[in-house]
């Protein structure tokens, strides 16, 4: 079992948070896909990681980071080329260009990163200087070119070929000039002499030995220069030089590929460290976006969260022009029960507890004023979706999931049970939840249960928290507001306060706010034996 299974990651909003984590380079992106939550035993790695991100945030310099990000964005994947070189293949010019650019960029990135004090030496980006020197002999240009400077032999052959080409072209121009002078005809840019068949000069051209008919139409003929012995010799010399040049070019590419293979350790280490730094910067950007604190690890089984701002909910509320009321929690005993009004944020409290721990154990900072906890071996959020493909109802899905994880109570896990057994009748449901709480109370896990069932809050050893809800609201306040979802969200006090041992009754008031017909509210009040006015006066 993974520390955070996919359904839980989706429920608590971890997947949403990870989507906001955006490394730039291919190496950072790959590393992100391999990110896993770290469990007990990884304390030193995690504290180290949090300190690195916090160190980065302390030294945050937007201009410098802008330049670093520009370079991170220019990196391309070179590991394929390195692998091919190691397998003995000869790389192509495009690969050498990418390797050279990788080395240039790594060096530039390394220089920029030196300005940060928080980065330990083990994250210094190594540059394969030897490889860079052979890829750009004599300093090289901005790009990659198998220049004459790679070997003297190449330079000599290419020079000889250039001379021969120039000679051939000179010779052709000489012959063209001679023909033009003697016949009064001119050659076009493609080296063709075009003449009408009825032109008297046609006969004269026909008998010349230094030109040859190259094309013929209905009315016109095209002549071109006939290569003489000197030109044929030059042409053949140029071809054989080309063959030799290509042989040498191949051997240069082979040597360069071997050099790349020889430097594989440095190259691959650079890729890894670039990815590592890229991901670190992404974590820093995320922390600046959500707010942050460095989590603190404790030995005892405990979870203290002060003013956690749930990034998923607060980002949604910000779009609606509202502000998230931070969540504070202190879970000490094995089981804590949260009761309170519908729409009072019980589920958000559960999700927030899960998300804070999951983020911290993924090596992220936590968007809270403080976060103190001991590492969890797993985080489980109860599932309640109907699952018709497996023949499971909501209740069925929930119990099926619980049956799998409840035996793990002996481990240091985090159980988040959101209104367990709400899909069945209240008598049996209440009994079932009571039994669940008693079972989990004897384990080593931390459990947070949200429920509307009575009879749990007074169980021995169980902490009871309650959503403040609409309790402090007078009838006058309520009348001032229009009764809709938004005003409900504004009036609700989402803070968790110590429970009073009884289950608050806000359902009818909330239903009234959400627009249920007054007749129905009145009827329900009658059933409860209270006057409809008392629903709001409570």
């Amino acid at each position: 079992m993974a520390l955070v299974e996919q359904p839980t990651a989706e429920r608590i909003g971890l997947n949403w948070v990870l989507r906001q984590l955006c490394p730039i380079s291919p190496y950072g992106k790959l590393l992100k896909t391999r990110m896993k939550a770290a469990g007990p035993g990884c304390e030193s790695w995690l504290t180290n990681e949090w300190d690195l991100v916090a160190g980065l945030l302390a030294e945050w310099q937007p201009d410098l980071l802008g330049e670093i990000e520009l370079r991170l964005g220019s990196f391309r994947e070179i590991r394929g080329a390195v692998k091919r070189a190691c397998q003995g293949y000869v790389l192509e010019d495009m690969d050498f260009f990418e390797l050279k650019r990788f080395l240039d960029l790594s060096r530039q990135l390394g220089e920029k990163l030196q300005q940060f004090k928080f980065l330990p030496s083990r994250l210094t980006i190594p540059v394969a200087v030897d490889l860079l020197a052979v890829l750009a002999p004599g300093g090289g240009g901005e790009g990659f070119y198998l220049a004459d400077s790679f070997t003297p032999a190449l330079a000599a052959l290419r020079q000889e070929q250039r001379e021969k080409k120039a000679e051939l072209s000179r010779r052709r121009r000489e012959l063209q000039a001679k023909v033009s002078q003697e016949t009064g005809q001119t050659f076009n840019p493609l080296g063709r002499l075009r003449i009408h068949k009825l032109d008297p000069a046609c006969k004269e051209l026909e008998i010349r030995k230094d030109i040859i008919a190259a094309a013929e139409g209905y009315a016109e003929l095209e002549y071109t220069i006939r290569d003489d012995e000197q030109m044929l010799a030059l042409g053949s010399a140029i071809s054989s030089l080309e063959e030799k040049i290509q042989e040498i070019e191949y051997s240069v590419r082979r040597d360069l590929s071997r050099e790349a293979a020889k430097n594989r350790r440095l190259l691959l280490a650079a890729c890894r460290r670039i990815g590592r730094i890229d991901l670190l910067l992404a974590k820093g950007r995320l922390a600046r976006q959500t707010g942050w604190c460095v989590p603190e690890l404790v030995n005892e089984s405990q979870l203290v969260l002060a003013e956690f701002i749930n990034p998923v909910v607060s980002s949604y509320l910000a779009k609606e022009g509202m502000i998230f009321q931070p969540v504070s929690l202190c879970l000490g005993t094995p089981v804590t029960v949260i009761t309170g009004a519908n729409m009072g944020g019980k589920s958000i409290a559960l999700r927030s507890a899960g998300l804070a721990i999951a983020m911290a154990q993924m090596g992220l900072l936590v968007p809270a004023r403080a976060c103190k906890f001991s590492l969890r071996e797993f985080i489980y959020y109860s599932q309640q979706e109907e699952n018709p493909s497996q023949g499971l109802s909501t209740f069925g899905t929930e119990i099926h999931g619980l049956a799998g994880v409840l035996p793990l109570r002996g481990q240091r896990g985090l159980f988040l049970l959101d209104e367990p057994a709400r899909g069945t009748n209240p008598w049996e449901g209440a009994a079932l939840v009571k039994a669940l709480v008693a079972w989990l109370d004897e384990g080593n896990s931390i459990t947070l249960v949200a429920t509307h069932f009575p009879g749990l809050s007074d169980m021995e050893g169980v902490t009871h928290l309650q959503v403040a809800g609409l309790a402090g609201l007078s009838r006058r306040d309520a009348e001032l507001q229009t009764q809709d979802l938004k005003s409900l969200q504004k009036l609700m006090d989402y803070s968790l306060v110590p429970g009073k041992g009884e289950i608050p009754r806000d359902a009818l008031r909330v239903a009234a706010f959400l627009g249920l017909a007054p007749e129905i509210i009145a009827h329900a009040s009658q059933e409860l034996g209270i006057a409809p006015q008392e629903v709001l006066d409570q």
Binding site: R76, E92, D93, M94, F97, G141, E142, G143, F144, Y145, L146, A147, R158, R162, T186, N188, P189, L190, R192, R194, A215, E216, G217, Y218, A219, E220
Partner: protein, 340 residues
């Protein structure tokens, strides 16, 4: 330097588009390259789609290669890099891909022939031209296979149209088709288009506009087969059809019909390369409907290839003369003829 290159060198980017294959587009490009070399101008080259290959991939006949001098830069796909005699230095990658791989910027270190296969989309072409302009004073964009491909002329400062014997059986036919194509390309710019209308056209959507610039979008993905509901949207008030996409023959016919019930009917298209209307119908359309574009094409010259790839030849002087007579504002040349 001949007249053609002298004219071309007054611009920073030029598109060369052909009326069809074997209209001498490559010869025209080579002619411009030679002129730029003579004038000592730093040259950049790209194409829409693939070009400069040594045999015509459609007809399998040999065709002239594009020859680039030292220091010229080109934007071509990685697969085309080794397919020429020029030796190239790879300068940069662009992150833009075509079917043959990523488009890279390369500099010619030793002159020779090159195969150019550039971006296939208009937006990408614009970006690639901008990248080449970092290195070059004049960028040539060579249109590829399509009759007039990927609206290259709409993203360059100027355009040259290549035509030739291959498109018609006699001089009159070639001249007629070419003059029509040139006039279509030179469709004038619109003067009174609202912001809403411009946005709709840029998104490639269809709609109608009234005199106050108010726009009603027509919920159609394409108007190419002229669905009859388009006429329902046209009225004496909303009398301007915005065509984000191709203005096709059926759509032209629909506009002609609608022009009887909607006086002062207008149509606005993105640019002249999106108009695909048969010459006779185009003439009739222009008499009844005002057609305008948002990006006018600055057509500066027509080049003529009087020979078709199988050796049939039309009289070059008559072809050039016929075109000059009908398009006196344009330079018309046969780059292969004496004196160019």
């Amino acid at each position: 330097m001949n007249d053609l290159t002298a004219l071309a060198l007054r611009h920073q980017s030029i598109a060369v588009v052909g009326m069809g294959k074997n209209t001498g587009k490559t010869v025209t490009v080579n002619c411009l390259v030679a002129g730029a070399v003579q004038a000592g101008i730093a040259l950049g080259l790209t194409s829409t789609g693939r070009d400069g290959e040594s045999t015509d991939i459609v007809s399998a006949l040999p065709k002239p290669a594009i020859y680039l001098p030292e220091k010229a830069v080109l934007a071509t796909s990685t697969a085309s890099l080794g397919r020429g005699t020029a030796r190239l230095e790879i300068l940069d990658t662009t992150g833009i891909y075509n079917a043959l791989g990523e488009i890279v910027i390369a500099r010619v270190r030793e002159a020779g022939s090159v195969e150019v296969s550039g971006p296939e989309r208009t937006g990408d072409l614009r970006a690639v031209i901008a990248r080449l302009q970092d290195y070059a004073q004049l960028v040539i964009a060579d249109g590829a296979i399509d009759r007039i491909a990927a609206s290259a002329p709409s993203v360059t400062d100027a355009a040259i149209l290549a035509t030739g014997a291959v498109i018609g059986r006699d001089v009159q036919k070639v001249v007629g088709l070419t003059v029509n194509a040139a006039r279509v390309l030179m469709t004038p710019a619109v003067s009174n288009l609202g912001e809403q209308g411009l946005a709709l056209l840029e998104q490639g959507k269809i709609g109608v506009q009234n005199q106050h610039g108010q726009v009603k979008p027509i919920p159609l993905t394409t108007a190419i087969d002229a669905p009859p509901e388009i006429s329902d949207y046209l009225s004496p008030d909303y009398n301007c059809l915005l065509v984000g996409g191709a203005l096709s023959d059926p759509l032209a016919e629909l506009l002609l019909q609608a022009s009887w019930k909607v006086p002062g009917l207008k149509a606005i298209v993105q640019d002249g390369t999106r108009i695909f209307v048969e010459p006779g119908r185009w003439q009739r359309l222009l008499r009844r409907v005002a057609v305008n574009v948002i990006r006018p094409i600055n057509l500066i010259a027509i080049t003529v290839n009087p020979v078709d790839p199988r050796g049939r030849r039309l009289p070059g002087r008559q072809l050039v003369g016929g075109l000059r007579e009908l398009m006196p504002e344009l330079l018309v040349v046969d780059p292969m003829a004496e004196g160019g």
